[in-house]
Symmetry: C2
Subunit: 290 residues, 2 copies
């Protein structure tokens, strides 16, 4: 197309795609090109700004490794990762939230009621609830992957002082759908801010602190996989999460308890809990529309 | 913002930017976030598609070097680079076109009329015209950077068999604004298609062949810099340039000539030209609105 103009270039792009292009790919590319072209047209983007954007992408490539993916982080701080979570979350289940880069495979199997705290410093928290259907029926055989930071804000794979699978577990529900464990309160931490994403945050006056959270992946046969995080209601960064992971339904109250009376008998650490400790009650609702 | 939804996330993103953010940066980010968010909302982008997009960016980072920048290539084949050229092109001058990755600094100074062909194989072309204002006045002291492929479709910095500055020159116009040189006809070539951009082209049935072209950067005191390319009217890829660089005004006719009669006296190779050769007449119009 030799007479392409700023108005016709979007159509020219689409016309270049062959007729046998996968229809979904063509649709996604049409929307992508339209929005990127509109972005350039509506901003009258200068060559310097275009170069700056490409420099940020190049720098992201240079700093990225399989363990530290700056492109995902860009997606996170632009709200794209969370938006993808949202548009794929069924209305009748627990909302999903960002997976993040700290999940590892191979966490040890533990029984319902296990203690993850062990020798970890910090405030004790007892977390429990039910994995259930939207109608409230317990889901037997649901599997939970659980991971979180230690009290210093670091995950075990970021911190050589922690055992390999510290504060990571894999648990399977019984017939009553219950899950339960004692652990240490997770700590806020910053997203990596020494690369181009940090530059963007800095230039827009945004801080890199994520509110503390527990990560979960919950799966059960016949249900879609739920990847989510849950947050304490008193976290200072709850209303300014740089990666937009917080949802009202994922905020849970840390209830202060002075006594271990009334704790379930299958809580392994029941008789060794320091007081006061905190109690968290949170159900995971799995949708079969996921 | 803990009650962020797929509808409010764009506003949440903007609210996170501090009040003292540079206004232009905030405007550009507002448009970028709005369009990327709309893209996700309108496509209901799946997690798999999101992952695929991020994998392409990661792969672009891995294959990129200062000499081969896959992000620029993505921008090129999506039409973004050309669109940025277009929205920044003044209406009263020669249109700009993509710079491309093959420009190098330090090309030798040559006089008007110089021969760039030397020992290069291929069809001889004599290229000349005027650097002028929109009103037709010649511009004295305009500087032209000229670079092109050899007959094999490779630039000197891609081909060890070529001398370092083969088919590259720097020329300055005199009082009459004229430029003139003899050279070899450039050849079509493919954009690099062994990386993620090649995968995109392949999946959409697009070929990687650029029409042949001569590159120019034309500068003059008091005028904006013109970065452009000019294309022969008989090139087979003229209507399907993968990087959208062709403009009607940048297509020039290669006029076949059987005799050297009438060629300007200052054409250094005038008496050694093989016949037939081709003649190209093209004026560069510099705008002071650039």
């Amino acid at each position: 197309m030799r007479n392409v103009t700023s108005e016709t270039i979007t159509k020219a792009f689409l016309d270049y795609c062959s007729d046998d292009t996968d229809p979904r790919l063509k649709f996604v590319l049409e929307k992508l090109a339209t929005h990127l072209h509109d972005f350039v047209r509506e901003t009258n983007l200068t060559h310097d700004e275009w170069r700056k954007g490409l420099e940020l992408l190049y720098a992201a490539g240079e700093i990225s490794t399989p363990e530290r993916n700056e492109f995902i982080l860009f997606s996170d701080v632009l709200g794209l990762s969370s938006l993808v979570d949202m548009v794929n979350s069924p209305d009748d289940g627990t909302p999903s939230s960002v997976l993040g880069p700290f999940h590892v495979l191979g966490a040890p199997d533990v029984p319902v009621g296990a203690d993850l705290k062990g020798d970890n410093e910090g405030t004790t928290v007892v977390v429990g609830g039910m994995v259930r259907t939207p109608d409230g029926a317990p889901i037997e055989g649901a599997e939970l992957e659980i991971w979180q930071t230690a009290d210093n804000g670091l995950y075990s794979n970021q911190d050589e002082a922690q055992p390999e699978y510290n504060l990571r577990a894999h648990m399977t529900t019984g017939a009553d759908g219950r899950y339960l464990f004692s652990t240490v309160r997770p700590a806020p931490y910053t997203v990596p801010d020494d690369g181009p994403v940090g530059e963007l945050l800095n230039n827009t006056g945004r801080h890199p602190w994520r509110p503390s959270h527990l990560h979960f992946i919950v799966t059960a046969p016949g249900y879609g996989t739920l990847v989510t995080e849950v947050f304490p209601s008193d976290d200072p960064y709850l209303d300014e999460d740089p990666v937009f992971g917080v949802r009202e339904q994922l905020v849970m109250e840390y209830q202060k308890r002075e006594s271990t009376d009334g704790l379930p008998d299958d809580l392994v650490a029941k008789d060794q809990l320091d007081t006061p400790y905190y109690m968290v009650d949170f159900d995971f609702v799995l949708s079969d529309n996921r």
